[in-house]
Structures are given as structure tokens and as C-alpha cells.
């Protein structure tokens, strides 16, 4: 009897079910031996993008380092929901010091490991967007400039969520927060990936929780480099974005498909790879499902704000070449 061969028509894309792939192609999360760096029992909201992102990143790092990594965490949701004394959800060595100093603390850990000859142990620093792009920026820039052997991961949910959804330097234009009740009037905020690239550090990448294989890949790739590395992950926050818990992945995908959040890699300060948008959508598709943008579509629609957000997305698309263009001569 002829053997029925199943056609893995999705092989090569990230969408294929893990069980159908060769073991070496399966995700870190598919591995029953994975670290489960951030394990069950933590207090994150349902559908928290940050909890999801952190587990994927750290499990990938742990696999890449043969379980030889140490984590330094800034104050923020991720820290608070994971370590209510006397409990901890961390299955990795984990240190929390302050809100604004995680990159420097990570530098200290790396320096100590170097002095002790433990070069087999790698260091990951992590924090929210507030801890990273605002209060921790000085320490982070110092860490980049010295090219310390640290991977720093920012989980960007566009606001100070732990303290009740206030505006941060990463809050997108137009978004309502508890300190921008009429919508954030500033424009693009600051692009920390670009700031990181300006330091010409070995590796900078962006990712979202919509494409978890890509996130794992980038966390893994980051560990192939030595020196300062930066990973910026878009992590929707159902509480702050006023979205349903079940929509986290979908919303993150819309952020990339509208050009609102460019996904790319950069080596030594130059963009080396860009995730192209397969089906470009207007930013409205991304904004409309989120309660934090509801005022743009209310009784007095704010077409002006929407078109300026669209213009920012268009600029991302142009700058990073997010859409494949076929030249017609």
C-alpha cells in the first residue's frame, strides 16, 4: 500500500502547526523541556501581551544559552504581577532593583560575571516602555554606548500601565490615557529602536506578540551577538488599550499590517531585514477596535487626527520599505 504523504502546504511559513514540523523546526514553546521562565500563577490580566512576550523571549534566550542566563527586571506590570512575595513566577535567576535602572543593573551583573570568568552566563535586562524610553533612557544609552554584553528587551504597551494607564514617551498619537484624557497630542513619541541604532550597537530588532515565531527567532538571534543588543516588542495591553482579552494577538497583527509598528532587524546600526506587510490595511482598522481611540470615531469624528496617524504609518512604510513595490516602467 502506498504511503500517504501529507502535503505540508504551510511549511516555510510561521503559521504551520508545530506538531507537523520537524522537531528542529518547532517553536521553543512546543518543547516540553522548555524553561517556562515565567510560569503559571502570576497576576497579569487576561490576554496580557507583556506576560506572553516575556515568556517567549526568555524561554528562547534560555534555550539559546543552554539555560545560562540571568534576568534583570525594571519596575512595572511585569515585575509586579510576577513576584507578589512570597511567591514568584520566575524560573530563571531574576533581580528587580528599581524603575529606571535595569540597564545599569544588568551591566553590573555582566561585569561581575566577566570578572568571575563566568562568560558562559548571559544577561537579559527587561522593562516596560516607560521604564525604557523615559525614566531608564539614560542608563540604557550608557549601556549601549559602552557596548556592555547585555540584551535589553522593552515590552512596549504604549503607556505606564502598572500605575493605571498614564501617558509615556511611547504612547501613540491620539491615544487616550488617564493623563491624556483628550488623546495624546504628541506625535510619534520616540522611536527607541532608532535611538538604539544610532548607538551602532551590534543588534537591534523589533517584534510583536502577533508573530511569536519571529519573536523567538529574534531573541535567539540576539544571543548570537556579544555586546549591547536591543529588542523592542509590541505587547498589547487589554486594560490600557480597552480591547477584549481575546483580541491581543489580532490587535498586534493589525499594528504591523497597517504600518503603525514596523518590524525589522538592524545589525551595527543598519537595517538588514524587514517584515513586509502582506495585506496592507488603513490605520483605521487598527484604531477602531481599541477603546483608547474611540473618541476619534465618536459624534465628532476626528478625521484630522486619523489622517495624521495614517501619515505616520505611511512614513514608516516608506522609511522601512514595508510594502513590496513593483516598479512600472
Amino acid at each position: 500500500m502506498p504511503v500517504q504523504r501529507i502535503k505540508f502546504y504551510q511549511t516555510g511559513s510561521f503559521a504551520v502547526g508545530n506538531r507537523l514540523l520537524d522537531p528542529d523546526q518547532r517553536s521553543v514553546q512546543a518543547d516540553t523541556e522548555r524553561t517556562n521562565s515565567l510560569t503559571m500563577g502570576h497576576r497579569a490580566c487576561q490576554g496580557c501581551g507583556e506576560a506572553l512576550g516575556a515568556r517567549y523571549v526568555l524561554d528562547a534566550v534560555m534555550r539559546a544559552t543552554g539555560n545560562h542566563a540571568v534576568t534583570v527586571n525594571a519596575t512595572g506590570c511585569l515585575e509586579v504581577f510576577s513576584t507578589p512575595f512570597p511567591e514568584s513566577s520566575w524560573r530563571v535567576p531574576w533581580l528587580h532593583s528599581l524603575f529606571g535602572n535595569a540597564p545599569a543593573v544588568a551591566t553590573g551583573v555582566a561585569a561581575a560575571l566577566k570578572a568571575k570568568g563566568r562568560t558562559d552566563v548571559r544577561v537579559v535586562g527587561q522593562g516596560g516602555d516607560g521604564g525604557t524610553v523615559d525614566i531608564g533612557l539614560g542608563c540604557l544609552s550608557g549601556m549601549f554606548e559602552r557596548n556592555d554584553d547585555v540584551l535589553y528587551v522593552c515590552y512596549d504597551n504604549g503607556g505606564y500601565m502598572n500605575t493605571g494607564v498614564q501617558r509615556s514617551g511611547a504612547t501613540p498619537h491620539g491615544a487616550v490615557t488617564t493623563t491624556t484624557p483628550a488623546g495624546n497630542s504628541f506625535r510619534q513619541g520616540k522611536s527607541l529602536p532608532l535611538i538604539a541604532m544610532a548607538h551602532r550597537i551590534p543588534y537591534v530588532a523589533t517584534a510583536t506578540v502577533a508573530d511569536l515565531r519571529d519573536l523567538e527567532y529574534k531573541a535567539t538571534r540576539a544571543m548570537e551577538f556579544h555586546g549591547a543588543r536591543y529588542l523592542h516588542v509590541l505587547v498589547p495591553c487589554p486594560l490600557g488599550w480597552r480591547t477584549a482579552s481575546s483580541e491581543t494577538i489580532q490587535i498586534a497583527r493589525l499594528a504591523t499590517e497597517t504600518g503603525s509598528f514596523p518590524v525589522f532587524e538592524a545589525v551595527d546600526g543598519e537595517v538588514t531585514d524587514v517584515t513586509r506587510i502582506r495585506r496592507l490595511r488603513p490605520v483605521e482598522d487598527y484604531l477602531r477596535p481599541q477603546g483608547r481611540f474611540a473618541h476619534l470615531f465618536g459624534d465628532t469624528p476626528r478625521g484630522d487626527v486619523i489622517s495624521s496617524i495614517q501619515a505616520e504609518a505611511d512614513r514608516n512604510i516608506r522609511t522601512f520599505g514595508l510594502v513590496e513595490t513593483t516598479e512600472v516602467s
Partner: protein
Amino acid sequence: MRSQIEGSRAVAETVARCRPEVVCAYPISPQTHIVEALSVLVASGELAPCEFVNVESEFGAMSVAIGASAAGARAYTATASQGLLYMAEALYNASGLGLPIVMTVANRAIGAPINIWNDHSDSMSQRDSGWIQLYAETNQEAADLHVQAFRIAEELSLPVMVCMDGFVLTHAVEGIDVPSQEQVDAFLPPFGPQQVLDPDDPMTIGAMVGPDAFTEVRYLAHAKHLRALEVIPRVADEFATTFWRSSGGLVRPYGCLGADTVVVALGSVLGTVKDTVDELRAEGVSIGVLGLTTFRPFPYDAVRAALRGARRVVVLERALAAGMGGIVTADVCGSVPDKPITTVIAGLGGRPVTKKSLRGLLTDAVADRLEPLTFLDLKHDVVERELS
């Protein structure tokens, strides 16, 4: 071996012999010579495998030290004044996490108005930060206290600040016996951390503690400081046995026994105070001096014992708590609540505390002619003009 050497240099060489594994540096006068000297020693390879990290701020310096110490390395940094305040948040964090970091504070005033000269405003502002605070009287003691500081810090898992007067000590060249490597090695064992970030034994450090346990955490922090009151004099005794000279400890009474008046002070001003007191004693005045080497934890019992026979106490302070008065006075009061205490605010922002002024002051003190809060050498015409 005794050599003519700058105070900063002596401290740097002593710290080097304590074999630090991570040194973080950020410049601020009058501390800078210390980390400059250490950077040279690290660069020469003499200190290998020590890592020298040039940070972007003092907040970064203390944070790097926190990470290094939590990863099991002996960590050191130095600062002063604005720099100490800039790291304030991290200071409380280091003590809360029980990290035995040692730091030199080259005491300097705090602005505004900006002032680079010596007083104790900086370290006094951090007296409640949970750090042990030791004050050096001389450069020899400054050097010696660093060796003891690492021992005390690591035995208790608490950070220690060694305070030495900016410029007056840091920039003074004098004969100092810098502890030799053999002596230091005999006295200071390698750092064996109580908790450490290790992939082979994952541990969560710095968890969120709520109302159910926070009081107990603070109680235990206090208990650790009380234990320090036993450890500090023991370490000083052991130091004396190894190094054949006496440095450190809790307090240094000088002619206190039987003295009617005792002057309490800390830091380098003690030299001038003792000289003045010697003269007065020679003239038959019943007066002694109590030097505070340890200010945190506050050695209540030792101070009480030293002041037992005194009829009046003068506390000479190098800092001022505006709206309150003397910072050290409040603690001395806690030791001897029934004795009359006068606070003298002296030497702010680098104003010299001269023997001449002290002599006049102490003559008034023994005659009970001092205001309860006196400012030494205050230009009364200037302040009165401004206040009128």
C-alpha cells in the same frame, strides 16, 4: 610602609588591595582622584580580573554596583554631594536588598547655592538610607576604614559608606601607612555572598512585599544594624591585631573621663578640636572630646557610657537640618536625654574651623554662655541685614 601620599591615592590603593571585582566611576569633586587612581590601577592589569565601568551618572554607578554585588562580586564606588543625592533611590535599594557594597563619600556641601567644599550635608542627608556610615578622622583612618568596611559589609550583608572630608582629607598629602597586600589578604577573606544570581540555582531577588510582611522586613533591617554595633568594634579589634594600629570602632573618647564638658564631633575637624581641648585642659579647663566614628547605626550605648560623667555636651555639626537644627544632636539627645546639649553648626560649605574660633566657642561653652543653637563664625551683620 609609610609614604607621603595624597588621601585619595591612599584610599584608592587600599581599595585596590581589597581586591574589588567591579569598580564603577563617575566624576565629581572632591572624590574624583580616587576613581582616577583606581582606573589606572585597573588599566595596568594590577587589579585583574577587576572590571572598571565608566557609567553615565551616579544613579548608574550605584545601579551597576547593585547588579555586580547581586551577582556575587565585591563592588566599590565613590561619590560626593550632588552625586550622592543623585543615587539616593539606589542607596535605599542596595541596603534593602542587603548588598555589601562599599562606597567612599568625599564629603561636600549640597547646593543650591552650588558649593564644592567640605561639610557633611551629603552623607547626613542619607543617614536613614540603611547604609552603615563610618567617618574618618584622618587619612590613615580613611584608608584603614575601607579595609574594615568590606569586612563589616560582607559579614552583615549591608552596604557601608566610608565618609572622609572632601579636600581637607581627600586632597591632603601626608604620611600614610597604606595597608600592604599581605596584611589585607590576612584580614579580608574573599567575598562569599549570602544570595547570588546563579543559573544553576535560580532565585528571585527584589520581589514585591506588601503590608503582610513589610513591617517584618523593616524590623529585620533594624536588627541587622543593631548587630552591626557588635560587629564594628570586633572588626576594629581584629584590625588592630593584624595591622598594629587602632582605627575604626564605634566611638573614640579623648579625655572624656571626669570631664565636665564634652565636645562631640565627627570627621577631620576632630584634630583641631583635640588640639584646642589640649590647650584648654592645660589651662585647667575640665573638657574632653568624643569622636563618633560610627554614625549609622547610632551607638547609643557607647555614647551614653562616654558621656556619663559630663555636665554639659557640645555637639559640633558639619551640617544643618533647616527648620530643626543639629542632626547629630538629635541622636546624642537620645543617648543622654537629661543632659544640657548645645548644638554648634560649624564649617559649612568649606568654611575653615579654626583653633582660634573653637577656643572662643569652647570658652563660652564651659561658662554656659552659648545659645542652644550656635553658628560658629556667623557673620551676624550679613544675616541681620537680609532679615531686616
